[in-house]
């Protein structure tokens, strides 16, 4: 295969498609877009080419959606230990790192200006579908990092990006940069005060960011007997994953309950987003809190022993596919998460939905042998 210019005919077409959950109707288009993206990375990223060649996979043989099962995937681990880029660094709009994991390593992932542009189209379409756009000014409560020159964590970028979905009156941040200690510090106390103030005003609020911080603050407020009624039109959005919750053993239902009890925001106004730095597509949940897969992605759940796809309803490793990114080969990524794909939902979206069970392994297996190794490897 010779060098060829980057063509994005099918990718552009896919992201222009008007129905964001028309999975059946876009299967062929998705497949063609993936092929386009695979060939682009194959021609421009030596490490990617090596992986594809080593697996004896020929990108030209992609012709049907079922062929995507054979496409070699790259584990998120790989992005944590290697930098893979298919465009020159100077052409990148964003060079993001993930917000850290149990291993402490972060993925390094790039995005071009063109990726960002079609990404915005996707966000526009999805938010329109979920009626998340608003022209009313709102106060943002961001349970994430206050922007500063000290971090390029992707969560911060997306959280701040989200604040343009509805015009912002004010923005409050839970993680503030402390110049003295040169570190981000959690400041939930001022968030609490701001909630109390907001409940006496007419401007709706929106919360964004790590659900764990939101949950801890609301639980504390509940214990203190604080019961507020947020202005009509207020929305709680959560992203950044539920991962912290698995350890806390907090289920979503108790989260919804505490939001309703303390802030007076009904469950239907709580929107969850699934996203990962290694997968550029966001999945907003539907009114039944199901993460439907939009047409810009496909999800394959794989058996850990064989990596073959499992039946719908069975648990396995979550493999995410998307042709969006041209800067880093995120075309087929194997996450560290376990999940289940389900079909059918009362909300009417035809697309299957993804249930995330949690991170593989046990983060905190504290073993005496393991403790010793931490030292040995220094």
């Amino acid at each position: 295969m010779g060098m060829m210019n980057m063509k994005r005919k099918y990718i552009k077409k896919l992201f222009k498609h008007k129905k964001p959950y028309d999975v059946e109707g876009t299967n062929q288009l998705f497949c063609d877009a993936i092929k386009e993206n695979v060939i682009h990375h194959y021609n421009n990223c030596d490490d990617y080419k090596h992986i594809i060649d080593q697996a004896k996979f020929d990108p030209n043989t992609i012709s049907d959606i079922s062929d995507l099962v054979r496409l070699p995937f790259i584990p998120t681990l790989y992005f944590k230990r290697h930098e893979l880029f298919s465009i020159p660094l100077k052409k990148m709009a964003i060079k993001a790192t993930s917000s850290g994991t149990s291993s402490g390593l972060k993925s390094k992932v790039g995005m071009s200006y063109r990726d960002l542009l079609i990404g915005f189209k996707m966000i526009f379409r999805l938010f329109k579908y979920h009626k998340l756009w608003s022209f009313r000014r709102v106060n943002y409560f961001i349970f994430g990092y206050e922007p500063s020159k000290h971090t390029d964590v992707v969560i911060m970028k997306s959280a701040n990006g989200f604040t343009y979905v509805a015009p912002a009156k004010k923005r409050y941040y839970a993680l503030k940069w402390d110049d003295e200690s040169k570190k981000y510090k959690v400041d939930l106390e001022s968030m609490k005060q701001a909630f109390i103030d907001a409940s006496t005003k007419k401007t709706p609020i929106r919360t964004l960011g790590f659900p764990a911080y939101t949950y801890f603050l609301l639980k504390e407020m509940k214990e203190e007997g604080i019961r507020l009624q947020m202005p009509k039109g207020s929305i709680v959005t959560i992203g950044g994953g539920w991962k912290q919750f698995y350890a806390e053993k907090v289920d979503k239902v108790s989260f919804y309950e505490v939001v309703e009890e303390v802030l007076g925001i009904p469950e239907k106004n709580i929107v969850e987003f699934f996203g990962a730095v290694e997968h550029p597509v966001v999945f907003p949940d539907c009114e039944y809190h199901h993460l439907h897969i939009p047409i810009y992605s496909r999800v394959i759940i794989r058996d850990p022993d064989t990596f073959e796809p499992v039946q719908s309803g069975e648990m396995g490793l979550i493999n995410l596919l998307s042709p969006l990114n041209s800067a880093t080969p995120l075309v087929s990524v194997m996450t560290d998460d376990l999940g289940v794909l389900h079909n059918g939902c009362k909300c009417g979206a035809q697309a299957p939905w993804l249930e995330i069970i949690g991170r593989v392994g046990i983060k905190d297996i504290i073993t005496c042998a393991q403790g010793a190794d931490e030292i040995l490897s220094k």
């Binding site: 992986i51 080593q54 790259i74 584990p75 681990l77 790989y78 230990r81 850990p304 022993d305 990596f307 648990m315 396995g316 490793l317 194997m334 560290d336 376990l338 949690g358 991170r359 593989v360 392994g361 046990i362 297996i365 504290i366 073993t367 005496c368 042998a369 393991q370 403790g371 010793a372 190794d373 931490e374 030292i375 040995l376 490897s377």
Partner: protein, 424 residues
């Protein structure tokens, strides 16, 4: 929760209780009727009986399930606290004559006494461990202040409270506080009054303890350790089977679990065929054990897939099936495995054993030797010279024997003083 003089208090009472702690401890120490070892043993014996009768099943059953411990093992562990067992432990650690030590001469006597106050910083990896550490302190008559590990499920207080109910004199010898590791001011109070700090956990925990301890306070650390197997190319199938059983049953989670196998060869091809031979046995043996938990199997599947992607650079060879694996490589680094039945196999010719292993002296614990009888002693000597303190049969690597040392040391000796006095 706080356990203070036999009473349970909420954590909110901590500040108030801390004010009287030192005086209370010193009063106990100056009391003429201090606790006798026999009284502690009797109380433990009683606790053992009621535990075997099922009183603590609500605590123990989940533990047994979590770690997949066979019930005969459990009974064996619990029985280590019976009167007979504890008397034997004391005799082994302190000597048969611990109650009346051989005098130095006609006038100068010797006797064993507690250090005084022990401050235990327990680790959270085994629920039963904090209480165990306190019991060891009690056996030689110490007052014990226990800092509970984060995430303690209440097991320690339940067990220690029961012990106090059996022998009320013990209430002055057991104090339990639920202080987080970040609350250094409080920990400092305990450290300042302690004669020794007993710390369980990784190097981070030990480092923190050293930092807070006054310069001349004794630190007794029970740190994290690693273990491995050493094999000769002619090792028997029986030994390999035994090792496979050990690895499958402990999931490589214990200090004494073999993380990998060193092989006495410098030939990579021979190493690979040895690995293939072991893998076949491992697969068969694994079928007789409960399967690897789904989440761990998935984690390791991704890790091994990654290894495959970088194989041409790493030069590793991977055999995997049913969630278990064997990996050979060119290096000889002693390291943690992926855990849950994933074994590294590396070359380590016999003349390099000491050179490669000795630098890890402070993190070594058990080894097993898989070799024909005539070569066993050669390897044994090298492993001891390298700093290993426990050499066991392959299948018994993690078996616990009454009277065994802790990583080469006897805790009861460390928790006591030898006092020399003269007759007038």
């Amino acid at each position: 929760m706080i356990l203070y003089k036999g009473n349970i208090y909420e954590n909110t009472k901590q500040k108030e209780l801390l004010k009287s702690l030192q005086d209370d401890c010193l009063n106990t120490l100056s009391c003429t009727k201090s606790i006798k070892t026999s009284e502690v043993i009797d109380a433990c014996d009683q606790l053992t009986k009621i535990t075997l009768e099922g009183k603590f099943d609500h605590i123990i059953k989940p533990l047994i399930e979590e770690y997949d411990i066979p019930s005969e093992y459990f009974e064996k562990y619990v029985s280590m606290f019976s009167k007979k067992s504890l008397e034997k432990k004391i005799a082994i650690e302190l000597g048969d004559d611990y109650q009346s030590l051989l005098p130095l001469d006609d006038k100068n006597k010797r006797s064993i006494h507690p250090l005084g106050i022990l401050f235990h910083i327990a680790a959270g990896n085994v629920d039963i461990l904090p209480a165990y550490s306190v019991i060891e302190g009690l056996l030689v008559g110490n007052i014990n202040i226990l800092k509970l590990p984060t995430g303690d499920k209440g097991v320690s207080i339940d067990l220690l409270l029961e012990l106090i109910n059996i022998q009320p004199k013990l209430k002055e010898y057991i104090y339990v506080f639920d202080v987080p590791s970040t609350e250094t001011d409080t920990l400092q109070v305990f450290a300042n009054m302690a004669d020794a700090i007993v710390v369980w956990g990784g190097d981070q925990a030990v480092k923190a303890a050293r930092k807070m301890a006054p310069i001349n306070t004794k630190i007794i650390d029970w740190g994290h350790k690693l273990s491995f197997a050493y094999a000769n190319l002619n090792s028997s199938d029986e030994d390999l089977k035994g090792l496979a059983h050990h690895i499958a049953s402990t999931n490589q989670l214990l200090c004494s679990s073999a993380q990998g196998i060193y092989v006495d060869t410098d030939d990579r091809d021979k190493l690979d065929s040895f690995a293939e031979r072991f893998f076949k046995i491992f697969i068969e043996v694994n079928k007789t054990h409960v399967p690897v938990p789904f989440g761990m199997k998935s984690r390791n599947a991704v890790e091994l897939y990654y290894e495959k992607l970088v194989q041409d650079i790493s030069k590793k060879r991977i055999w995997k099936q049913d969630g278990i694996s064997v990996v050979t490589s060119n290096d000889n680094k002693l390291e943690l495995s992926l855990l849950f039945r994933n074994v590294w196999i590396k070359r380590l010719p016999r003349d390099q054993i000491v050179k490669v292993i000795k630098p890890h002296r402070s993190h070594l614990q058990s080894a097993t030797i898989l070799a024909p009888k005539k070569e066993y002693n050669i390897y044994l000597e090298k492993l001891i010279q390298s700093g290993l303190v426990r050499i066991k049969k392959p299948i018994e690597m993690s078996d616990v024997l009454l009277g065994e040392s802790h990583d080469g040391m006897y805790p009861l000796r460390l928790y006591s003083n030898i006092v020399e006095t003269y007759n007038i």
